[in-house]
């Protein structure tokens, strides 16, 4: 068992290194000279530009530059071109925001989609089932940022019951979940929105398949009532495919977080990335992109681990 997990983690390392090389290559073939972004090139002599390039190490051979970048990421010494803040501390400051939004999004999505999926799976072809099937197409076609804007207009401006921006009250210093909750409702809903019909559909299919299994008949014949059978026996088995879908959707969720953070002005990883991209602050963009890759790899490992928790039979294979 332990060997399996060590193997899995070892396999993930070359993937991440490959990802870092890909990012480095993209930045190398990108036109333009990052050094001219630090000062107005029209006021610089050629010598000054040369000096500037040497000072930030752009004149070194490419492998040296790559190794230095990677070393910088690992030691936490890689710094933003602009603010000189380490990218590590920028990411650390943004993690609570992005994680809480994605977490609330997943929880809201599960709370809504599981009952929906179970209800639809119990009666295939019913009205609810057909609505659900049509709902998937409609929901995945709806741009998240438009939904966010509409929600802000409705709940923040019209009704004035929820904050439109920020992750916590302005005077807050820590990340207190109770204080953050009102701030997380709208971003969480926008994050959950595309997930709901997708998860509900997977739950529905899985519930429908599981209901046909022998052990369900056994459970009924033991005299268990329908609720117990559905929630204790059917749903637990049906959760396996649902969990794997969440794993597949993690990259999508993180991508969605970029938009959600922009709409609700949340200081998360997505917003840092977009701002750094617009200002062409390469070290920051590079760090956040590689960090997001770590998250995707980690999410896949966690999902595989959860399989074993939900369905003990999988552990043995």
């Amino acid at each position: 068992m332990t060997r399996y997990w060590i193997g899995r983690i070892l396999q993930a390392i070359p993937l991440w290194i490959g990802a870092s090389i890909l990012v480095f290559v993209v930045l190398q073939i990108a036109p333009g000279d990052p050094s001219v972004l630090l000062a107005d090139p029209s006021f610089l002599t050629d010598e000054q530009i040369q000096e500037l390039r040497e000072s930030i190490g752009l004149e070194d051979p490419l492998p040296t530059q790559y190794m230095r970048m990677m070393a910088g990421i690992f030691t936490g010494e890689l710094r933003s071109f602009r603010t000189q803040e380490t990218t590590m501390s920028m990411i650390r400051g943004a993690i609570p925001t992005t994680f809480s939004v994605v977490f609330v999004g997943i929880v809201v999505a599960l709370l809504l989609s599981l009952p929906l999926g179970v209800a639809a799976g119990r009666r295939p072809g019913s009205f609810l089932d057909r609505i659900l099937s049509a709902g998937v197409v409609v929901v995945i076609s709806f741009p998240a940022f438009v939904l966010g804007i509409i929600l802000i207009r409705l709940f923040s401006e019209e009704l004035g019951i929820l904050p439109a921006s920020g992750i916590r009250p302005i005077d807050a210093t820590g990340y207190n979940p109770v204080e953050m909750l009102p701030h997380l409702v709208l971003p969480g809903l926008v994050t959950a929105f595309p997930l709901i019909p997708i998860l509900a559909r997977y739950t529905r299919d899985a519930v429908q398949d599981t209901l046909a299994e022998d052990f369900v008949r056994t459970a009924y014949s033991k005299g268990l009532n329908e609720g117990t059978v559905l929630w204790r026996h059917v749903l637990r088995n049906a959760l396996v495919p649902v969990i794997s879908v969440i794993g597949i959707l993690i990259p999508l969720l993180l991508g969605g977080a970029v938009i959600v953070e922009q709409v609700f002005e949340l200081p998360g990883i997505g917003r840092i990335t977009v701002q750094a991209a617009i200002l062409r602050d390469y070290p920051v963009v590079m760090s956040t992109v590689l960090f997001s890759a770590v998250l995707v790899i980690a999410a896949n490992l966690i999902v595989d681990f959860l399989y074993g928790v939900v369905d003990p039979r999988i552990r043995l294979r």
Binding site: G18, P31, S141, A144, F145, V258, V263, V274, R280
Partner: protein, 277 residues
């Protein structure tokens, strides 16, 4: 006939015709500013209202459709072509080639799509004039989104490769390229078409998202995404400025998704699971 397919085709034909016929059907010039009628609600002369420069929203949506649709379609062509090429070669030849190509595909999938795109767009956008952004966006979107298609195609090729008739054409001396082009790809054309249709919708959404973030199509060119973004600060006074371009994105993407779903049912009635992902 499948009703979803028909509705989808109707939407896309309407969107395409209005984009192509933009110079003749748009009521105003998309750039014409009527400063005295800024942020005007929908009226007889401005059916969908005006924006903060007094420009006609309807006309800008019609012209913006040219950008959104062509970026979506062209990027899809690149994404699906690369996807088919990688998927077919990987699935057909197997062994080392498969291993290398699939590791590379996994590499592309390790990045959340938006993060990779932001990196690429940020690196390249300064090298072109703002009005040419659309053209540089196409290869970027295409080259960052082929991995999903490649995986699907590879899986299909692996299935077809096992069939007896492939062995038969092999034994009569057909070359690899001929087998792939003439005997394998025609059998998975339905899978390719379905994934291509859905991909156009996804790419239109991604382009709109990037433009909304200020990284895609930029002013003065109108794209549905940057219209939504421009209207955002005016949401309180002028909801139409944001909502109508947003609806244009939604309806068009819905059209492509409906065609995709409809086609899937028409071409392969057995499949019904896992439509959305």
């Amino acid at each position: 006939m499948n009703s979803r397919f028909i509705v989808g085709v109707f939407i896309i034909v309407l969107a395409t015709v209005s984009a192509l016929a933009a110079p003749w059907i748009s009521p105003h010039s998309p750039e014409h500013q009527e400063l005295l009628s800024r942020l005007q609600g929908p009226t007889g002369s401005y059916l969908l209202g005006t924006d903060n420069f007094g420009r006609d929203i309807l006309s800008r949506i019609i012209w913006g459709g040219r950008v959104s649709l062509s970026v979506g379609l062209l990027a899809m062509v690149i994404a699906v072509s690369v996807g088919v090429l990688v998927g077919a070669i990987s699935g057909y030849f197997g062994r080392a080639i498969d291993a290398i190509l699939m590791r590379f595909t996994e590499l592309m999938l390790v990045f959340p799509a938006f993060f990779l795109l932001i990196l690429v767009v940020a690196s390249f956008q300064e090298s072109v004039r703002p009005e040419d952004r659309g053209m540089i966006l196409v290869p970027m979107l295409g080259l960052t989104s082929w991995a999903v298609s490649a995986r699907i195609i590879r899986g299909e090729v692996l299935k077809i490769k096992q069939r007896d008739y492939i062995l038969a054409v092999h034994s009569v001396g057909a070359g690899n390229a001929r087998i792939i082009m003439r005997h394998i790809l025609p059998n998975i054309v339905s899978v390719i078409i379905v994934s291509a249709t859905v991909r156009v919708g996804v790419l239109i959404l991604v382009e709109a998202g990037l433009s909304f973030l200020g990284l895609g199509i930029q002013q003065p060119q109108s794209s549905w995404g940057n219209m939504v973004s421009d209207g955002f600060p005016y949401m309180r006074q002028a909801w139409w400025f944001t909502v109508f371009p947003g609806l244009a994105i939604f309806i068009t993407v819905l059209g492509f998704n409906l065609i995709g779903e409809g086609l899937r049912d028409l071409l392969d009635p057995r499949s019904g699971k896992g439509r959305a992902v």
